[in-house]
Amino acid sequence: MLIENPLSTSPTIFPILECIHIAGFALSIGMTALVDFRLLGLGFEEQTPAEIARAFDWWMLGGLIVAVFSGLLLFSTDPDMYYLNWSFLIKMACLVLAIAFNYTIHRRAVSLSLSPAAGRLVACISLALWVSVIFGGIFIAVIRPGLT
């Protein structure tokens, strides 16, 4: 027996979930960006990158959890469309890379004090990965219906 997804039957819930999704990823990406900007020499100066990361780590993780769970709910409304959409697939690849990068190389680069040049490189890779996740998300709607 098929069960109707209650999220698909309500026209109001999808945009609300999208707002939650945007707020979540803006928080998590922005909190990571604070650390990246510090590595690039912008913004904070008195604190080390590690201190900034520690101060906002939990907010970053909180935003990420909100974004992932609201994203899963959004995905559940039309899984076939998302699964066949190459922009969505690229977004997922970038997301996995961004999260993996964040908790391995990025974290290590922040806690060990690397040379400024290496720090800047890590910051640029981190920013590029997270921004590509946003681009992937926007283009889901552009290339619809996608693969067949």
């Binding site: 990406i29 922005g30 904070f44 946003i134 681009f135 926007i138």
Partner: protein, 170 residues
């Protein structure tokens, strides 16, 4: 008067090109969201510090002072992308209730800035002298979070309003 200006604006070549472009328009939209993400969090970080919920090792003066210019640059980036998106469909946006709400909320942000300039943002060193972040700073931070979150939601809903008939797109 205003509406004829908006029709003129949206039919200027760069903006009508943007409107009819399949790929540049979403790129500008993605840049708009990227700027919001990268720099919106600076507003959140400032508010969290004022509320005493994060970064308590750093002073309020540091958070407000150090992030001031990067925040302004970020706002200009997000606003420029937003202006491009608006200008390509200016007439339609004029009638969009969520766009109007968003503009109203920006005006409230301006009022918020004026109201709290003297007591909070213009004099962070004084806030740092108190043992805990004072009530007026927490109020300013709470209102700021509420306003910016409302702007974010209004912005998302702008895109849900169906295009109108009878627009003067060339």
């Amino acid at each position: 008067m205003l509406i004829s200006f908006l029709i003129w604006l949206q039919n200027l070549e760069p903006f009508s090109d943007l409107r009819s472009s399949a790929y540049v328009y979403p790129v500008v939209l993605a840049l708009h969201l990227s700027a919001i993400s990268l720099f919106g969090a600076m507003i959140v970080a400032t508010d969290l510090r004022l509320l005493g919920w994060a970064f308590e090792k750093g002073s309020i003066a540091e958070v407000i002072g150090r992030l001031r210019w990067t925040k302004r640059i970020g706002f200009i980036l997000a606003a420029t992308c937003g202006f491009l998106l608006f200008s390509s469909k200016a007439e339609e946006y004029y009638y969009n209730p969520f766009f109007r709400t968003k503009i109203l909320l920006f005006m409230l942000v301006a009022v918020h800035t004026l109201v709290f300039r003297k007591s909070v943002y213009g004099n962070p060193a004084e806030l740092d002298r108190e043992p805990e972040s004072p009530a007026r700073a927490k109020l300013a931070a709470g209102l700021s979070l509420f306003l910016w979150l409302s702007i974010l939601c209004a912005g998302r809903y702008v895109g849900y309003v169906e295009g109108r008939a009878g627009m003067h797109f060339k």
